[in-house]
């Protein structure tokens, strides 16, 4: 690996474990090879890395583990194309190249002292998991916490088992976990879209920060419900995705916005506030 200050140089990381989560989605645990990097590397919830598969390409992936864990990180990756197909073939012991972390991440410092409501749809739980883990690791810094995890079917609910397993701790810690599906008649639990469960959250709308992640079409309904339920629009955050080649504001693919508001999703985002979103056509 390069020792120069080339910003596109990669850190070598070893794959330690590969879990199958749901169909086409795997969770991979990595460790930095270089001890100095392992020691010094830090990230914020909501940031992402650029992951390289040699000879195939590079893709942006959100970090989905708690930033509190030094030297290790987890990525949750859906198989959708050339690079991610190959990532799914990785075995423990294999190497990949990683650079980052990039992006602004969620303003977790600002969240301190408030309630947290995390709303995920589809594979949206991947980036939100890092916020959740961070909040659990720093439990004393936050008020009540609710996680709404939604999917079409029971077996496409990302991190379902992990969240279920936390139920006891959650009870004790004032954390509410709501898992809901929209199209699964055999699912024994809650049904309906994510926004239909906002009313079941244990958070106080007056003093809650909301983080949302999901496919673009869910945002409008979620926002409307949140606002109807008196959540403060200034405290709603979403994390977005775009085509990206560099992750550091050079390649231009993720530029979005209007002529008065030009943003690079990779460095000005991927986390954006509600007002950014509504004043910028095309951001979602």
């Amino acid at each position: 690996m390069n020792t120069t200050e080339n910003i596109y140089s990669l850190y070598k990381c070893r794959v330690l474990r590969v879990y199958d989560l749901i169909e086409d989605v795997k969770l991979l645990l990595f460790r930095f090879e270089n001890p100095d990097i392992a020691e010094s590397w830090t990230c914020k919830p909501g940031q992402f890395v650029q992951l390289s598969m040699p000879a195939l390409g590079e893709v942006p992936i959100s970090i989905c583990s708690s930033p509190m864990r030094r030297g290790f990180f987890e990525l949750c990756i859906k198989k959708t194309g050339r690079v991610t197909d190959k990532i799914h073939e990785l075995k423990p012991g294999d190497f990949v190249g990683v650079r980052g972390p990039y992006g602004n991440g969620f303003p977790v410092d600002e969240f301190e002292g408030s309630d947290l409501l995390l709303i995920a749809a589809g594979i949206g739980m991947a980036p939100l998991r890092s916020v959740f883990m961070y909040a659990v690791d720093n439990r004393w810094k936050f008020g009540n916490i609710t996680v709404i995890n939604s999917a079409k079917f029971g077996n496409t609910l990302l991190f379902r088992k992990e969240l279920e397993a936390m139920r006891d701790v959650a009870e004790a810690e004032n954390i509410r976990i709501i898992q809901t599906v929209t199209r699964d008649p055999d699912w024994p639990g809650r049904v309906g879209r994510a926004q239909e469960h906002i009313k079941h959250a244990n958070t106080d709308p007056e003093k809650t920060y909301v983080c949302v992640c999901g496919p673009p079409q869910v945002y409008e309904d979620v926002f409307n419900t949140l606002i109807k339920n008196n959540y403060d629009p200034r405290k709603i955050y979403v994390t977005l995705e775009r085509r990206m080649k560099c992750g550091v504001g050079k390649c231009g693919h993720c530029i979005a916005g209007t002529s008065t508001f030009l943003k690079y999703i990779c460095i000005d985002g991927p986390v954006f506030g509600y007002y950014d979103i509504i004043s910028t056509p095309g951001l979602i």
Partner: protein, 263 residues
């Protein structure tokens, strides 16, 4: 991939000028290619070959006879991945210019009443008959693209296909634009990149041999409008655009649209 797991390939030709196969056969690194794959079928180069199961089949040429059609179906059935190679396979090729009724007429005119032992058909691209997984465009394809495609397949992956026009390469190479400068009917804006804008680089207007840009971003209408403004007639425009674009479904409709308000 270890040596024992070499991907198996078949290279086939239907009706064409055989340039794509020749181009594949004449890449500089042909011996390294031969080492990296098990070439199960390549009748142009080897008398040892029947259609057997392969990982990747490359098919050059358009379907112009019943025998072509049958052969193509057999190739598809025996291949995990099928790659259409070149303008004939992808777009029907220059022979795809004659269509429908016109075809019957021409055939009669040439072979007269002589009854032939084999049946000939309108030349059509192979995707009309079988599922195509990847396209390797060109007339013939360029060496670097052939090598890139082969190398990605060899790695168990697949290539990223280009979806932008020749103009992009023309400009990157700093060639003077013959359409702007001399009003020549350059088809560069319509045609999928990959050749490095060879013709404009030789002071010759691109005549579209690589075929239209895929995914519906070949703007026949806009270019027809531009040509009209340079003084070309509708028929002239069609005659030029159809050489490699005749089987592009919306070509005629798109050109007509531009001239609608005129006549």
């Amino acid at each position: 991939m270890s040596d024992t797991m070499k991907p198996k390939v078949g290279i086939h030709g239907l009706t064409s000028c055989y340039g794509c196969q020749l181009r594949m056969a004449s890449v500089q690194e042909i011996l390294r290619v031969a080492q990296r794959f098990d070439i199960e079928y390549w009748s142009m180069l080897s008398s040892d070959g029947t259609i057997r199961h392969v990982d990747i089949a490359f098919v050059e040429g358009s379907v112009t006879t019943m025998a072509d059609e049958e052969e193509l179906k057999a190739i598809r059935e025996n291949a995990d991945v099928l790659v259409a190679v070149g303008s004939c396979a992808i777009h029907g090729g220059v022979q795809g210019m004659i269509f429908g009724e016109e075809y019957r007429k021409v055939f009669g005119e040439i072979y007269g009443n002589c009854t032939m032992d084999f049946e000939a058909k309108i030349a059509e691209p192979i995707h009309k008959f079988v599922k195509v997984d990847h396209n390797l465009p060109g007339c013939p394809p360029e060496e670097d693209e052939i090598m890139y495609y082969l190398a990605t397949f060899a790695m168990g992956s697949y290539p990223e296909e280009k979806d932008y026009p020749v103009c992009a390469e023309c400009r990157r190479n700093g060639y003077p634009c013959v359409l702007i400068e001399r009003g020549e009917p350059c088809l560069g804006p319509l045609v999928v990149a990959g050749c490095g804008a060879r013709c404009p680089g030789h002071n010759i207007a691109c005549f579209g041999c690589r075929g239209p840009v895929p995914h519906g971003v070949a703007w026949f209408d806009s270019l027809a409008r531009t040509f009209r403004e340079k003084g070309m007639e509708k028929e002239e425009i069609k005659a030029r655009m159809e050489i490699f674009g005749r089987q592009y479904e919306k070509m005629n409709e798109m050109i007509e649209k531009v001239f609608e308000h005129e006549d």
